[in-house]
Structure formats: C-alpha cells, structure tokens
C-alpha cells in the first residue's frame, strides 16, 4: 500500500514506517508477529532498492521526452500548427508520415548483426516420388526423363503439359494414319489431304508440325507419287536392324505454306 507515496524521493514515509516497525517489534512475543515483521522488512527493503534506483536515473540527466522528440524528428514528423482530428495520429505535435517506421527500421538494421532468414530459392520438393510418365518409343525423351525428376515441383508440371500435349497429338496422328492403312493398305494418303484443315490455317500448321515428328522418328514416311505429289504412309514395324536405318535415305525437306496457298 501507498507504494507510490513511499517511492517519492521527497518523502520520508519509508523511514517513518521503518521506525514504527522497530517500535512495534518491542511488543512482539509471538512467532506469528515476528513473521509479519520479517515480511514487512522484505517489502521495505524492496521499496528502498527502488528508491535508490530512481535516485540514480534522476542523476543521469537523460531526458526521455526530449529523446522521443528527437526520434520523431528522425522519422520525419511534420510539425504543423493545424490540429488534425481525423486521424489517430493527431496527438499534438505533428503528423507522422506513413513511412516513418520504415525510415527508422532502415537505420536500425545497421546496428544489428542479424542473420538473414533462410528461404529456399526454388520452392520445395514434392515428397512422393514422381509418377512414371506414359511414353511412346523415343530415346531422347527417355534420357530427359531422369533429369526432369530433379527439377522442383512447379517447373515440372509446366514442362509435362507441353510435352504431353505434343506427344499425345503426335500419337493420335500416327494412329489415324495407321488405322487408315489397316483399312485400306494400298492407298497412301495425299500428304496435303492429311494435314490440311479446311477451316483453320493454324491447325494445318500444327498438323504439319506433328507429322514432322513422325517422319523424324521414322514412324512414317513421305514419298512422291506418280504425279509428283507427296504422299504419306506409316512405316512397317519390321525388324528394323541398323542396316535398315543406314540404307534408308533420310532427306531434309522444307515445306512452306502460306495462307494464300492454303486457301
């Protein structure tokens, strides 16, 4: 009780209380009373210690109010005379800019040897092993598959969708070609009939792109018929020994097609 009053450096209340306790102690004859006295002593000494502390800080001449003012200045306070009442920052003395604490923080960082927080650069790995992808026989793709597994999750998804779309398309086209030939083995299809989409130039180009994969991998071939027009047919999956692939001529052909021609 009356702690604040006692702490006041100008008061002698603490001394008076101690003196009173001293006098009272003479009348003590029971243990319980002595215990109370001891308790009082503990409280009194704590208060005494705090008083001593406060004495010390008064002598240090550190003016916290002035320090606070200086900090506000440092943070860029705008000390206008006009009183703003719309904002919570309307305490008399001015208006703190919104980046006030950023400014302070910028300065503060110079004083701390703080370890930067650790973050993974590439995101984290998926915990389960990657599902093996469906593949058509392509040696190139097989070796690439192993490298892909090391890439982080995000990137992998994107690559997959690209490749799979192309692969699927190519597969589909191959199947169409093969089906046609199953039904009608002796009639090769005109290349242009095969790839041209009468409704879409872009799609035509795409078809040619996909067919080029089949040609590259030797799954289909293009040759010229009697009228010097290109025809396309699937290659027979005969036991293609190395001999075979070496003897077969592989030519590079560039086909150009613009919109007018297409029409």
């Amino acid at each position: 009780e009356n702690r604040e009053a006692m702490l006041n450096s100008k008061s002698n209340r603490l001394t008076e209380a101690l003196e009173e306790a001293n006098k009272l102690f003479d009348g003590v004859c029971r243990a319980r009373e002595a215990a109370l006295d001891a308790q009082f002593l503990v409280i009194a000494s704590n208060i005494g210690k705090e008083k001593a502390n406060e004495l010390h800080s008064e002598m240090s001449a550190f003016d916290s109010t002035a320090f606070a003012e200086d900090l506000l200045t440092f943070m860029g306070i705008n000390r206008t005379e006009v009183e703003e009442t719309d904002d919570s920052e309307d305490v008399p003395g001015g208006f703190l800019p919104s980046d006030a604490w950023q400014t302070m923080g910028e300065e503060a960082l110079k004083y701390f040897r703080r370890a930067p927080t650790f973050h993974y650069m590439m995101g984290s790995f998926k915990s389960e092993p990657p599902v093996p992808k469906q593949r058509i026989e392509r040696q190139k793709k097989a070796s690439r598959g192993k490298a892909e597994r090391a890439m982080p999750a995000q990137l992998k998804e994107m690559e997959e969708s690209h490749q799979e779309a192309t692969e699927k398309e190519v597969e589909r086209i191959l199947r169409i070609l093969q089906t046609h030939f199953e039904n009608d083995p002796d009639t090769p299809i005109s290349f242009f009939d095969f790839v041209i989409d009468p409704n879409s130039f872009a799609h035509t180009v795409e078809n040619m792109f996909h067919v080029s994969f089949l040609i590259r991998d030797g799954l289909a071939k293009i040759r010229l018929d009697e009228d010097e027009l290109p025809i396309i047919e699937p290659t027979k999956p005969s036991g293609r020994g190395e001999e075979d692939s070496r003897t077969r001529a592989r030519n590079q052909v560039v086909i150009s097609l613009d919109k007018r021609e297409w029409k």
Partner: protein
Amino acid sequence: QVSELVQFLLVKDQKKIPIKRKEHREHWDAYSEIVNRAGRTLQEVFGLQLVEIDTKRHTYILINNLPRPEGKYLCRDKEKEKMGLLLIILSFIFMKGNSVKDSALWEFLNLLRVYPGKQHRVFGDVRKLVTDEFVRQKYLESTPIPLTDPPEYKYQWGPRAEKETSKKDVLNFVAKVRPFWGHLWL
C-alpha cells in the same frame, strides 16, 4: 550429418527463436564435435556465427558475422520496422540504467504514438510484440518485480541483443539522433 544439422539450424532460425538442444536429440548426442563442425560450416559458407546463449540449457542462436553492407536495404518488410522499434526500446533501457519498469517503457512509447492497448497501424498488437515476441526471441528479458500486485515487470536487454548489437553501438545511435547527447555521456 553435419550438413543436416546446418540445414536444420538455418530453417529453425527463420523465426529467430533460439534453438534448443533437446529438439534435435539424435544429432546432438555426438554433441560437441558435430556442433563445432556445423558452426564452422555456417561460418565459412554463410558467414553466420552459432552462439550458445544458455550453457545450462544449451540454447543457440545464429548471428551475422559479415560486415554490414553499405547502401539501402531494399526489402520493405515488417522485419525492418520491428527492428526500428526494438532499437528504440533497447536504447531507452540502456539510457535508463539497463533496467526499466514496464510502465515506464510504455509511458515512453506513448510519446512515439505507440500504445499497448491500441492496434498500431504498423505493428498491430504492440503489447504482444514487445512482451511476447521480443522476449521469446531473447532480444528482451522480462522479469517480474517481486511483491507487486497487480504484477509488474521490468525489462532488460536479452542475450540475443547482447550478441547482435552492443551498448557502444546503441550509444552511437542515441548520439546520432541527437548529437547533443554525446557530450553529456563522456
């Protein structure tokens, strides 16, 4: 094994809460050798120092051993702003003789428009930040003042503050904010 420990320490340090030995028991049984080697790796590869702040309970923190870079720190994040508030608090504690009552601290922060009971535009729940977060990170140490009712606390510098900065640095800060102070304290 050492690299696993290094990685563990780096991830644990993200929240700036000190790392206790018992949390990763199986690595720390071959204790001192592995910890020492991890410390060397952290220093040589990352420029970070592994410091034991509590030898009884084996608690560790990571601090930055590289010289401070020049120029503006580009990231505008909460961390920067919190460090600003922290530096101010540490300065106040220091200038007040290394220990302040919580009531005195809040009285001072009020002057900077920071109020314990009010949601702050930048810091949110400031009371939680100061009494909870800063204390758990060991930047501040909070001790109850005995025989106070309702209980009052006093604040001092925590072990992380002692390691990451110094009284001299903080004094420089105070002097920088008001050059005038320098001569009073010589």
